[in-house]
Symmetry: C2
Subunit: 302 residues, 2 copies
C-alpha cells in the first residue's frame, strides 16, 4: 500500500514496502547478533522479547537518519541492533511487578511472566551489555572516534539523565496519585521516549557523517517525534483503543481540543527540522511523522 | 603496616599505604563521576551503593595492571570508575528478592531495602549506562581504538557470556538443590568473579599500552586471582567467619584438604603469570595474590 504524504505531488514513496524491507534487514541482523549459547535460557529470554512484535522504530530512525546524510544501512546496522536491544531491555525491566507490573508487552506475555523475574532482570542486563559490545566490536567503516560518540549518546539516553530518570519520575507520579502539570508530563516524556527517539536519530546521523548543524536538526526532529508519539498514545487510550497506562495523560492535562492542537504543532515542528535536507532523501523521516500523526484520525475526526 | 611478600628480600613494599592512596584516588574520581542531579533519588541510590564499604578490587586491578605495563593512573581511572560502577550495579541486581534475596551488602542494608526494588533496578541500570558513557567520554590520552576494545571487554565480561551467565547458573543450581561438580562450580566462578577480575586487569593492561603477550599473561593472572577469591571465600564461610552463600562450595565438593591445595595451586599459578614483568612494578599485583591467599590462615592453620 502506497501511503501518500503531504508532499505526495513531489515524491511518490511506498512507505509500506520501505518499512517491510528495512524491518526484514533489522530482524536478520538481530538474529545474527544474538546467537544462542550455553546457558541457553538466558539467550531464549533475550530472544523472546527482541523477536516479539515490534515496530523497530528506533533502528528505523537510526538507519533512515544515516541514509539521509549520505551514510549506508550497513554503517548504521550494528547501532540499530544495539538500540533495539537496549530498548527491549528497558521494556523488560519496566514491566516487572515492582515497576509497572505489566503482564503483556508487544502482543504477548511480558518476559517475567514466561521466564520469571530473575531471568527477566538478567536478560535485560545482558541485552544492554550485548548492545554496547556489539556496536563497539561489529561496526564497519566507522572511525573509532565516531563510535565512541554514539556509545556515549546511548549511555546518556538510557541512564540517569534519560530513560531511567523518566521511568523513575513516572513511577513516583503514579505512586503519589497527583495529577501532573503539562510541564511535568512533558519532562517525563522528554527523558523517556523523546530522549530515545532523539538518540536513535542522532546516532544514525553521526554514523552517516552528518555535520554538527545536521546533527542538531535531527536531534530536534527525534525529540519532537518522541513527544508526538506520547500524545498520540494518550489519544489512543482516551478512545479506548489502547489500555490506560498512567493516571496522568495529555488528555487530562490539556483537554482533547488542545491535544489535537499539540499534535498539529509537533507534526509541523518535527517536519520543519527536515527542511534543510534533500527532499527525496528525507521522505522516510517525513513519512514517520505523518503516519504517526494520522493515527489520531482513527480515534477522532481530526 | 608493611606486608611482606614472598619476594620480601628483593623488594620492600608497603601494601597498606599503596592501597590507602589508590582507594582515596578512586573514591575521589567516583565522587566526581556521579554528580547528583534531578531527580536526586536516583543519584542517591547509585551513590549509596557505590560509596558503601568496598575493597575497590576491580579499579585497583585495572590501575595496577596499567601502571605495570608503563601506563599511568590517570589513563586507567575512567575505566577503573566504570568497573566499580558496573560491579556495583551487578551487586544491586543480584541482591534483589527474586535473585539472591540478600539484605546486607558491603556492611550495610542492600540497596533495595533502603530505596525499594524499583529504584534498585533503575540505579543498577543507571550505573551500567553511566559506566560505559564515562569511559567513552572521559578517558584522556587513550587512542579511540583502545577505548573501543576495553568497552567491548567490559560488555563481554558483564553480559550473557560472563556475569549474567554465572549468576543464572548459580541461581539454577540453588533452585535445583543438587550438589555441583567441581567443574560446574568452577564454570560459575569463571563466568562471574574470574571473568570480572580478568576484565579489570586486561582493561588496565590494554589502556597502559601492553602488547598482546602481556595482555594474555594478565588475562590469566586475573582469572586465577578471581578463582582464588572464590575458594578463599568458601573457606571463610566454612570457618563461620562469613555467612553461607550457596549450597555448593569448594569445601563440599573438594573437601578441606584439597581446597588448601587448590589455594596453593592458584596462588602459585597467578603469580607465575607475572614472571615476565619487571619485578618491582609487579609487586602490587603479586601482593594482591599473597594477601588474598594468606586470609586462609585466619580460618585454619595452613
Amino acid at each position: 500500500m502506497a501511503v501518500s504524504t503531504e508532499r505526495a505531488d513531489e515524491v511518490r514513496f511506498d512507505l509500506s514496502t520501505f518499512l517491510d524491507t528495512k524491518r526484514n534487514s533489522i530482524a536478520s541482523a538481530l538474529n545474527d547478533a544474538i546467537v544462542v549459547q550455553r546457558p541457553a535460557s538466558i539467550y531464549e529470554s533475550m530472544r523472546y522479547s527482541v523477536f516479539a512484535e515490534s515496530s523497530r522504530v528506533c533502528p528505523l530512525l537510526c538507519i533512515s537518519a544515516c541514509e539521509l546524510v549520505g551514510g549506508s544501512q550497513d554503517q548504521a546496522m550494528p547501532m540499530a541492533c544495539a538500540l533495539e536491544m537496549v530498548h527491549t531491555a528497558s521494556f523488560i525491566h519496566d514491566d516487572l511487578p515492582c515497576m509497572d507490573d505489566d503482564e503483556l508487552r508487544r502482543g504477548k506475555a511480558a518476559n517475567h511472566k514466561v521466564f520469571g523475574e530473575d531471568l527477566a532482570i538478567l536478560a535485560g542486563d545482558a541485552l544492554y551489555a550485548l548492545g554496547v559490545e556489539y556496536v563497539a566490536s561489529n561496526s564497519k567503516d566507522i572511525c573509532p572516534d565516531t563510535l565512541l560518540r554514539v556509545i556515549a549518546e546511548l549511555g546518556k539516553a538510557v541512564g540517569s539523565e534519560g530513560m531511567v530518570a523518566g521511568q523513575y519520575l513516572e513511577l513516583a507520579s503514579n505512586e503519589s496519585g497527583e495529577e501532573l502539570t503539562f510541564e511535568a508530563l512533558r519532562d517525563i516524556h522528554l527523558r523517556k521516549t523523546a530522549a530515545y527517539a532523539e538518540c536513535s536519530t542522532v546516532c544514525g546521523a553521526i554514523l552517516g557523517g552528518a555535520d554538527e548543524e545536521q546533527i542538531q536538526s535531527l536531534r530536534q526532529y527525534g525529540r519532537a517525534l518522541g513527544l508526538l508519539y506520547e500524545v498520540v498514545e494518550d489519544m489512543a487510550e482516551q478512545s479506548g483503543k489502547n489500555k490506560i497506562r498512567t493516571p496522568s495523560s495529555y488528555i487530562k492535562v490539556l483537554g482533547l481540543e488542545k491535544c489535537k492542537e499539540y499534535v498539529k504543532l509537533l507534526r509541523s515542528e518535527a517536519k520543519s527540522y527536515l527542511s534543510g535536507f534533500d527532499t527525496k532523501k528525507a521522505v522516510p523521516l517525513l513519512c514517520f511523522v505523518d503516519q504517526l500523526a494520522e493515527r489520531v484520525r482513527d480515534y477522532e475526526a481530526f
